[in-house]
């Protein structure tokens, strides 16, 4: 679409594989109900401060199956503030924020996330917490007379987050 003049390049190609993959994610298929009213846009703090992020346009790209524009390094999806205003406003119960999170799940399946996000996920997967316990933490807690923190039973957490091969299809 950008700057090329060949006829074929003007044609939008719907990526149905992308749409099918998204539909398998929890609440990923809700975008199908979007009629592009834009109620999600007016109250979106990310759009207010940077119009490169626009939940209505993201839903439109999903409907058109333009996965390539959303599933890439430095994806605009990460500008979402997760404030849930769009969820609150949507008359069709599309829950744009949840569709965006499902798209992030697809990014994660491809091993793509910003460094800060990847770091926190790793901390959770190894310690069961997003902010780990340390001697300094325990010292602070003791100062306030708080009980020591206990280790998270990681065997249980790790068994739970292991995907099963037959879960995707329903």
């Amino acid at each position: 679409m950008s700057g090329t003049s060949g006829k074929d390049d003007d044609v939008v190609r719907v990526d149905f594989d992308f749409r099918r993959e998204l539909a398998e994610k929890i609440e990923g298929n809700l975008a199908s109900f979007c009629y592009q009213c834009g109620a999600c846009v007016g109250d979106c703090p990310a759009t207010t401060y940077d119009d490169a992020f626009n939940p209505r346009e993201i839903m439109l790209k999903v409907l058109y199956g333009l996965g390539g524009e959303l599933l890439k390094d430095d994806s605009i999806l990460w500008y979402c503030t997760n404030c849930y205003n769009c969820h609150e406003r949507c008359p069709q119960e599309v829950k744009p924020v949840e569709v965006i999170i499902s798209l992030k799940n697809m990014l994660a399946d491809r091993g793509i996330y910003p460094d800060t996000v990847g770091k926190i996920i790793k901390t959770f997967e190894t310690t069961g917490r997003t902010t780990p316990i340390s001697p300094a933490v325990e010292k602070q807690r003791a100062r306030f007379g708080l009980p020591p923190l206990t280790e998270v039973p990681m065997d249980e957490v790790q068994q739970l987050i292991e995907p099963a091969s037959d879960e995707g299809d329903s």
Binding site: V117, V157, L160, E162
Partner: protein, 298 residues
Amino acid sequence: MERFAFFPGCLIPTRHPAMEFAIRETLPKLGIEIVDLDGASCCPDPIYFKSKDKLSWLSVAARNLTLAEEIGLDIFTNCSGCTATLSETYHLLLDESLKAKVNERLKRIGREYHGTSKIRHIVTLLRDVAGYEAVRESVVRPLEGLKVAIHYGCHLLKPSRIMQVDDPNNPTVMEDLVSALGATPVRHRNWYLCCGKACQSEDVPANMMHDLLGTVNAEHADILCMICPTCFGQFDHGQMKVAQRFNEDFHTPPIYFFQLLAFAQGVAYDKLGFERQRFKPECLRNFETAASPAGDDS
């Protein structure tokens, strides 16, 4: 005493123990017994781990809920992020097929989710279990004349169909609680804005916080009161960065509501850990010297 299982999450117990201290000081005075939950993990967070894999996120959250189910209690949360994760899990697992899918995973560790424990944000315990009148009666240092701007944050209120805490377009719960302490709540023009923490852009949260702190300042608020540790981090450490970037000194001390409640109930300023904040609510000291109950400041 009414008993509730305490789900402290990650941020408050590790980064902000002063907040946990304040919760443990204040709730028993309002007839609420805190029951600690053994073996809880991160909720998991609704921003990062949820972005990796929703089904895993739901499964770990459901495991946390089974811990409360085992002891037959409702859960209360002190962080709006934990509230979002656990409330959404409860809501999503009303769907029988999704519940079955999650229970397939829980079977691996010999657990089963039933959906018998409800999730309550700690703020709603004060409103619905203790009541505003009990909060008012517990105050020994009425914060008269203190102008308190309120930051609701996002996940106390939204999505309202799932959170069911208050009207997201015109909430009153925080104003009512601040009033119960004798202080004057101030609603600033950007009260509904988000703290911006989840947004992975540098400019968006910085500009947003700049606007928000600007309207708080315009109302001449003494402090900015909030109910979520993530928002707190944004308005404490983050405020410093915003001040540097825009070369403006807002100097609006953020405060977690339960520390303010503990102070109003008579806990000494110096015991509440404010010295660890970048912006300290020093204005509270005036109330301490004016009406200090005998023997409490030891």
